[in-house]
Amino acid sequence: MDLVESPQAQDWPKSLKAETCALSFSYGSRLALKNLSIPVSEYQITSLIGPSGCGKSTFLRCFNRMHDLYDGNRYEGEILLYPDRRNILAREVDPIEVRMQVGMVFQKPNPFPKSIYENVAYGLRVRGTTERSLLDEKVERALRSAALWEEVKDRLPAQATSLSGGQQQRLCIARALATDPELLLLDEPTSALDPMATASIEELLLDLKRSVTILIVTHNMQQAARVSDWTAFMYVGELVEFGLTKQLFTTPIKKQTEDYITGRFG
């Protein structure tokens, strides 16, 4: 028997860092996101789950205006960044400005072909920080936040590519953290990592949420269950269900969600 859509009020985040309001997005003529209204709870982890092609990465990329890089992409609706409820999709908003507030980490570690130090310092230099002692301080802080400092403090000038996959991914997180973003976006950050490296990234995320709001796309349902406070389940560009992770994984409301998280989808 299906659980009918119960009249009881759904749990909803109390304090928001961001929210999408009727967000739609098209790649040219193809509508990839349909009218999504999803809240992002402040200092918590929100995960986006759904089968391949459901639009979860597309959704994530809207948050730092990555789609602006290509012609023909079109946004509709709004993404409001709190506390000032600024619509970061508005024409007058500079995407570079947005990306300073909203950091992003990708599926495969993608360090720059530079030293460990320079990878983290890069964003700071772009923003005009030149003073060496300030750079040193911020690089160390970012590397500590990414739980990488102890492992690399003696080899900061070494090439970033000399690090292991898990270390490289934490370096990318450090790089994203260096500019003090308010929102950190992660697109399947552990899918290229082994279980140990995955566990260390997950631990890291749980530590980080004290200081930064996290929005994560993951294919790994157990990962969503383990790390996130809120979960949004998407299917073919639409939001099927949003709720507390503990609720969604024990008593989902929609049959589609149930089928997906129990592996009956097909």
């Binding site: 349902m221 994984f249 024990t250 008593t251 089928d259 129990t262 989808f265």
Partner: protein, 228 residues
Amino acid sequence: MLQRHFDEELTELKTKLLRMAGLAEDQIDKALTALVARDSALARRVIERDHQVNALDVEIDEDCIRLLALHQPAARDLRLVTTAMKIATELERISDLAENVCERAIELNDEPQLKPYIDIPRMAKWARTMVKESIDAFVKEDATLARKVLADDDFVDDLMEQLFRELLSFMLENPQTITRAIRLSFISKYIERVADHATNIAELVVYLVEGKIIRHTTPPGASKDGLA
């Protein structure tokens, strides 16, 4: 819909639980027969057979732990596995109570029968039906049937109360009957507990189907009809 190997394992789990329930129900039936027919040999066989139920309890526990560890079930699958684990415990207790009935029956059979046994078999029949229906509700994932079981519990409680008053009158009239009357009143309490365990199973079924935990939700003093 995707067919999963996991579904076969869940079906196997349900089958095993059904087998355990059948055994526990049979224990109650035989315990009552041993009492009513004053058959102490049968009572001893029931006591002897309790270990089979215990063994199934352990087996089901191990199966559930394995399913949780290896498949990390979610949603309804998760509720099914955790519910099965708890139901196995309830069934094990039911079988223990059948064993207790037999122990008292053996003691009673050593003395002349105090009175014709009428209410006790009636109570047992109700409790036994509640167990069966709660397990049926589990297998069919039928919350309506589970709620019916919850409502039936009151009747068993009332019968116990009635029997207790009757036994009390025996004891007041003739102190010679006290030992036997107390043993019978123990038996009625055991049966009332069987019905309680059936109620617990029914509550678990409601959780399985609806995801709502309804036990311990009746406010003190309110009617315990379980239809909240």
